[in-house]
Amino acid sequence: MAEVLTITDLVKQFGGLTATDHLSLSVDEGEVHAVIGPDGPGKTTLIGQLTEDITPNSGSIRFAGQDLTGMPVHRRSMLGLARSFQITNVLADFSARANVALAVQAHQGHSFRFWRKAASDPRLVDPAMRCLATVGLEDRAEVSASNLSHGEQRQLELAMALATQPSMLLLDEPMAGMGPEDSARMVEILKRLKGDLTILLVEHDMDAVFALADRITVLVYGRAIATGAPDAIRNDPDVRTAYLGEEAEDA
């Protein structure tokens, strides 16, 4: 299978702290690759290097045949890398539909179009409604994003990412702050997307990760201590001590 994303020997240091430590990781086309790990700066820093302005000290990130390092944020989206944010990040004073329509618009050429009304343009509205339907928000399309529940806002995040027709979806803790019911709904939505989309999933919710992932990478102090299928990870002794052990003790 073709690799969509290839991270090679990536290092990021903040002063004395090594947040990404010689990390190598790949995501194959069509797979759901989950990144898990105990609390720490490792996962956020990795996402920052993939999607924002955090420049690694060394190593490379190749996506769709191009080096992402130092590339402006908006161009990464144009390449087909879409993300959802850990902390809900939608346009609060726009309706759910307008939020998604704007994401659709971003990928239909330039927006130096000054005349035609965007809110009634079927080229924007139709795809936007399809994305809302995919995440189960079609009935809430006209509601202002700020009036959506937390769970619905997370779904909207996902719809916006989908609207950019990405070749890979980077989901930064899509279940963050969700109750079990919302969480279960999100897992169902993602299960339906699985197969059509390549997904890099960074998540704390173990049930969700084991339900969705084809492969899991365990990140401890910015270093990948194991990569493999969910069953292999579950039984890996290093992982058990570093991560799952802690959970078992908590439970």
Partner: protein, 337 residues
């Protein structure tokens, strides 16, 4: 409430259309020039509202574009009367240049300013407008500090006469309507969505793939161009061009008009400009009258302190009616209004 709002706005626009007729009927031609000034400032406030209200860019330098538009008329007059260059009075040319020059200067200033955010953006737009202010003070040839009195105004041939207050009034009114309609199309277009989206959450917009800087910059240029039209009208209305109009205080006045009328609404700046100039005109008389009623001394002077009332009034708007006059018409009261 919505129908009341549109009804009120329609009433204001119709009343403005009738001003010259009424003023002539009651033999008070002074009102024509007062209301022309309102229309001119309404255009300038609309231009600022595009970047401030819809785009979230607090430009504290829009007086510069107003001044540039006015100086197009002033400099044209200067060369027509001193160098015999009759063509330099051509009104169509004035109008065209009063759109393009401020527009291009706004693009230039915006290109640098929009790399900053928040307070820095406010300060840098202020700095640029003050630079232009001192530049024109230094231009002795065009009157410098003293300004230029215009013996001849923009010449539109037989189409209209800028010396005729009614012609100038209806030109201003017509331009305001055209600008409002163009702005209405613009803020609801794809471009407008990006502009409003970048105000709401710029980080998100970049994440879905918008190079937001370019869109903000173009909006800033358009805003400068519209403000230049107001400058062109202002010069013809006051028959005088001076650096005073470019002073930063006027940039502040424009912000006040936009906030007073309602940021990010189509007609808010119009209501704000009318309200602002009404208060400026009638608050002193009101205070003088009130003073006489309670039998105070020196009531003539009391009127000069109208800003003592105006200031707290503004604070009240900001505290209790965030949506400005237009917000009140929609029944929005309170800090989130």
């Amino acid at each position: 409430m919505a129908s009341f709002r549109y009804g009120f706005i329609l009433l204001v626009m119709l009343a403005l259309a009738a001003v010259p007729t009424v003023a002539i009927a009651i033999d008070e031609p002074f009102y024509v020039s007062l209301f022309t000034r309102m229309l001119v400032m309404a255009i300038a406030a609309c231009s600022l509202n595009l970047v401030l209200g819809y785009g979230g860019m607090v430009s504290f330098g829009h007086a510069a574009y107003l001044g540039l538009g006015a100086y197009v008329v002033g400099i044209g007059f200067y060369h027509a009367s001193n160098d015999g260059m009759e063509w330099a009075l051509n009104g169509w040319m004035h109008l065209a240049l009063a759109i393009t020059i401020p527009g291009l200067v706004a693009l230039l200033i915006g290109a640098i300013s929009l790399r900053t955010r928040g307070v820095y953006f406010i300060m840098i737009t202020l700095a640029f407008s003050q630079m232009l202010y001192y530049f024109f003070i230094g231009l002795e040839r065009y009157g410098g500090d003293d300004g230029l009195s215009l013996w001849f105004l923009s010449d539109f041939g037989g189409v209209m006469d800028m010396n005729d207050d009614v012609d100038l009034y209806y030109l201003s009114y017509g331009l305001l309507l055209v600008i409002l309609f163009l702005l209405y199309r613009l803020v609801n277009s794809r471009f407008g969505m990006v502009l409003k989206g970048a105000k709401s959450n710029e980080r998100r917009l970049m994440a879905v793939g918008f190079p937001t800087y370019r869109y903000r910059l173009v909006a800033f240029g358009i805003s400068g161009a519209i403000c230049g039209i107001a400058g062109f009208l202002m010069a013809n209305q006051s028959e005088f061009v001076s650096t005073a109009e470019m002073h930063w205080v006027h940039s502040g006045d424009l912000i006040v008009m936009v906030v007073l009328g309602g940021m990010g609404t189509l007609f808010g700046p119009v209501l704000g400009a009318v309200g602002f100039l009404m208060l400026e005109q009638y608050l002193p008389e009101l205070i003088r009258g009130g003073c006489e009623v309670i039998g105070g001394n020196n009531c003539g002077i009391a009127g000069e302190y109208w800003k003592i009332v105006f200031g707290p009034l503004l604070i009240m708007v900001v505290l209790f009616a965030r949506g400005g006059i237009d917000g009140l018409l929609q029944g929005k009261v309170g800090r989130n209004g």
